[in-house]
């Protein structure tokens, strides 16, 4: 497949391409671009969550404000499809979304971790279920409005994921779970553009929603109040909220107070701790099993090391222990400066708004990876993703399981 490494955009012969349309500017512009290029474009929107389901439950608003799968967004997408003259369908993946995104989202919070539902949705819904639907209806490729670049590197014989040309919009942090198979069937036409350029293009294509504001919050949690969402969801399921209440303690074991549940906290959180002390206090560790919330000063949030699990590798095929057969014909062998033999030097990003920091990767037991930063990083948070970069190339990534060598020994069960 031909590539244009300089733009990050794959040039493809005219073919059938499904576009994941959310009713927003980005994906609508993608549909317009591909249509203008002469492809057979089919618009698809996933129905993932029924916003009315929990409306009015457990203090949830009666009037639904959330953006996910709102009828207005579907109408917007349908309108764009009509204006472009492309077929458009809404596909129902609510069951899969509940199983693979909503449920884990809740379980993670109740285990004292801070989840990223967007990555789960990309891995399980957009680039799995929706890509499958796209192929079933006769589309060869799936295009999305993500800001990222995807291209084939003949030298490595691998599909590469690269950061978007616009670093402020780059979404590769949420895309680290894509497999070679998925990348080979994916187009990110906006990867070489910035937002003003996309809006300009939307205007050129006369898209009525060119000025529509961006969405930010977690799509299925109206107003962003995830605690209320968890309460309402469990009540609807006839389940009681597991009791993860317990003590609020300092690192040296001093009890400062009581809290109502670990899911109310996030590592690095300062406000809402309910205790008053002379110096600022931060959450530095959450232990769901023991219901323990550990607090400390700003310096206690710093750590150099994390253990990542459930890894996915993109530019290399895996991380090999030092001393492994260097002649083994792995596609990653020729990669410079990243080689597949540990220790591998990368920059690593530990949350969406984090500047990737220099670090070294080494294999750890059970297929996990130890990430050691050159400089201590603040508030490394279990449940978040860690994504490894070599320049703008995504090497791979995984989920932060624990932060060792500090008091932050986290229960990884569940």
């Amino acid at each position: 497949m031909p590539t244009e490494p300089n733009t990050g955009a794959r040039t493809v012969a005219a073919q059938t391409i499904a576009v994941a349309m959310s009713g927003g500017v980005d994906s609508s512009t993608v549909a317009a671009m591909l249509r203008a290029e002469g492809h057979n474009v089919v618009g698809l929107t996933m129905q993932l969550w029924n916003q009315r389901r929990l409306a009015g439950h457990e203090g949830m608003p009666e009037q639904v404000q959330g953006r996910c799968c709102s009828i207005d967004d579907v109408y917007d997408a349908r309108r764009v499809a009509e204006d472009l003259g492309i077929p458009y369908y809404v596909v129902n993946h609510e069951e899969r979304f509940e199983r693979d995104v909503v449920r884990p989202f809740i379980d993670e919070y109740l285990s004292g971790r801070t989840p990223i539902p967007c990555s789960l949705c990309n891995n399980h819904l957009k680039f799995d279920q929706l890509l499958l639907t796209a192929r079933q209806i006769g589309a060869d490729l799936l295009a999305t409005g993500h800001y990222a670049r995807c291209e084939f590197d003949a030298a490595r014989n691998r599909w590469l994921l690269r950061r978007a040309a616009d670093p402020a919009k780059d979404q590769t942090y949420f895309l680290f779970g894509l497999t070679q198979e998925q990348l080979s069937r994916t187009l990110f036409p906006l990867g070489h553009m910035n937002k003003p350029q996309v809006r300009e293009l939307a205007r050129e294509h006369h898209l009525a929603l060119a000025e529509k504001p961006d969405s930010q919050e977690i799509c299925f949690v109206p107003g962003g109040d995830y605690k209320r969402f968890i309460d309402a969801y469990l009540a609807e399921q006839g389940e009681s909220l597991p009791d993860t209440s317990g003590e609020l303690v300092t690192a040296d074991g001093k009890v400062l107070g009581h809290h109502e549940g670990v899911h109310n906290f996030t590592v690095g959180q300062r406000k809402g701790l309910g205790v008053a002390t002379g110096s600022p206090l931060y959450v530095i560790n959450l232990n769901g099993a023991e219901g323990k919330v550990t607090v400390g000063g700003n310096d206690d949030l710093l750590s150099r090391t994390l253990i990542a699990h459930k890894l996915n590798w993109i530019s290399i095929d895996g991380l090999h222990a030092p001393g492994a057969d260097a002649n083994a014909p792995t596609p990653g062998d020729s990669i410079k400066p990243v080689t597949a033999n540990a220790p591998v030097r990368v920059t690593a990003k530990i949350r969406h708004r984090h500047e990737p920091a220099p670090a070294v990767l080494e294999p750890a037991p059970n297929g996990e990876v130890r990430v050691t930063f050159d400089q201590p990083q603040r508030a490394i948070t279990p449940g978040q993703a860690v994504v490894f970069y070599d320049g703008d190339v995504v090497v791979g990534g995984g989920w932060i399981a624990e932060v060792p060598n500090s008091l932050k020994c986290v229960d990884v069960a569940g």
Partner: protein, 387 residues
């Protein structure tokens, strides 16, 4: 692109004769049927002629026909108009949402509702209906033919059960009208719903048969239209269209149209069954209306099949569309005991009077090849995401 429409249980195209009958009533003959003058008289005559045509289709008296805005309104009138707080109502688990959700609303309003089940062929058992009777049962509402499977329900037996027990019997005959003979005398029903757009009349038209002498509470208040059973200026062109479509349907039934249509349906169904493995008919073995077949194809998603077929020019349907347009698994198939997967892997094919032999040939060619493609991809795509 060639487009073939096999979703006539959703809606049917207007027949040209129906459109021609309606046309003058949009233009020169625009009167209000309640007016005294010439224009009004002409409109009134047209409405009453249509009423007679609809009555003839159902073997009722013209005065027993109330025109409505469609099947849903007629169902609402036939249910809410006959029931009061504290009453018990019997319906089934496979009703159209117009009846199903009306009955759920009755529950909220202080009525009790029994939803009788169906067997694996999608048939309601008369004994189950009889067994559900209570001293305070006021109404039985059971459909005449199911919209998804086409299965014809034993409404005559249920009608006599209702008669013996002295309770009202309403039947939603939206999917039966124009496909099988309807005789309200034989059914012994007190109310019966039909919809215009399922019989090649325009959308927004329908009628409720209400047996003479039945006291029904109007659900829409206003003028004294429709013998004070449904207020609002008559939709004269629509009613004329419904009357014309009823005339055509009656003639079609009397001249053996149903046998020709069921032969076409059977050829479609049997050709697909013999062209592939792991396929079957939902409701097989039960009596069905001549235009409908509902097929399951294991190892696929009905939703993907409907989309893939639409992209090839064949319109069919699967399950129920929710407000966004996404498909939800059919409550009818689930009520018949189909596993969730198979309910999701089912599609409905429904023929209309405009359906041709070539249309059927096209479907016979396109459906097996599309199912085969879907199956080819599904097992091959077993790569699990890592996270």
């Amino acid at each position: 692109m060639r487009r073939v429409y096999l979703d006539n249980n959703a809606t049917t195209p207007l027949l040209p004769e129906v459109f021609e009958a309606m046309r003058p009533f949009y233009l020169e003959q625009f009167g209000n049927a309640s007016s005294i003058h010439h224009h009004g008289q002409h409109a009134r005559a047209a409405v009453e002629k249509a009423r007679a045509s609809v009555a003839a289709l159902l073997n009722s008296r013209p005065a027993e026909i109330v025109f409505t805005s469609g099947g849903t309104e007629a169902d609402n009138l036939g249910i809410f108009g006959l029931v009061q707080r504290g009453d018990h109502v019997i319906t089934s688990t496979i009703e159209h949402s117009a009846v199903m959700n009306s009955c759920k609303r009755l529950e909220q309003m202080g009525c009790e509702v029994t939803f009788v089940p169906v067997n694996s062929r999608g048939e309601i058992g008369p004994d189950d209906v009889r067994g559900a009777l209570r001293p305070n049962t006021r109404l039985i509402s059971v459909m005449m033919a199911n919209n998804e499977t086409g299965v014809i329900q034993p409404v005559e037996e249920i009608g006599s059960i209702a008669q013996e027990a002295d309770v009202f019997f309403h039947t939603d005959a939206v999917q039966a009208a124009g496909k099988i003979t309807i005789d309200v005398q034989k059914i012994a029903c007190d109310a019966l719903t039909i919809s215009g757009h399922k019989i090649h009349a325009p959308q927004g038209t329908g009628a409720l048969f209400i047996k003479k002498g039945t006291l029904i509470q109007p659900q829409i208040y206003g003028g004294s239209h429709e013998r004070q059973r449904r207020a609002g200026t008559e939709n004269v062109p629509g009613i004329v269209g419904l009357g014309k479509a009823a005339e055509i349907a009656k003639h079609w039934l009397e001249s053996g149209g149903a046998a020709v249509m069921s032969a076409m349906r059977d050829r479609l169904q049997d050709s697909i069954l013999s062209a592939m493995e792991d396929v079957g008919v939902n409701g097989l073995g039960a009596p069905r209306v001549p235009n409908t077949t509902n097929l399951w194809f294991d190892h696929i998603e009905g939703e993907a099949l409907v989309i893939a077929l639409d992209l090839k020019g064949l319109a069919v349907s699967s399950g129920a569309a929710c407000s966004s347009g996404a498909i939800e698994p059919s409550h009818v198939l689930l009520a018949m005991g189909l596993p969730h997967q198979r309910a999701r892997a089912s599609i409905r094919l429904s023929l209309g009077k405009q359906t041709t032999r070539e249309d059927i040939d096209f479907a016979i060619k396109v459906i097996p090849e599309t199912v085969a493609r879907l199956r080819e991809i599904s097992p091959a795509y077993q790569k699990q995401p890592v996270c």
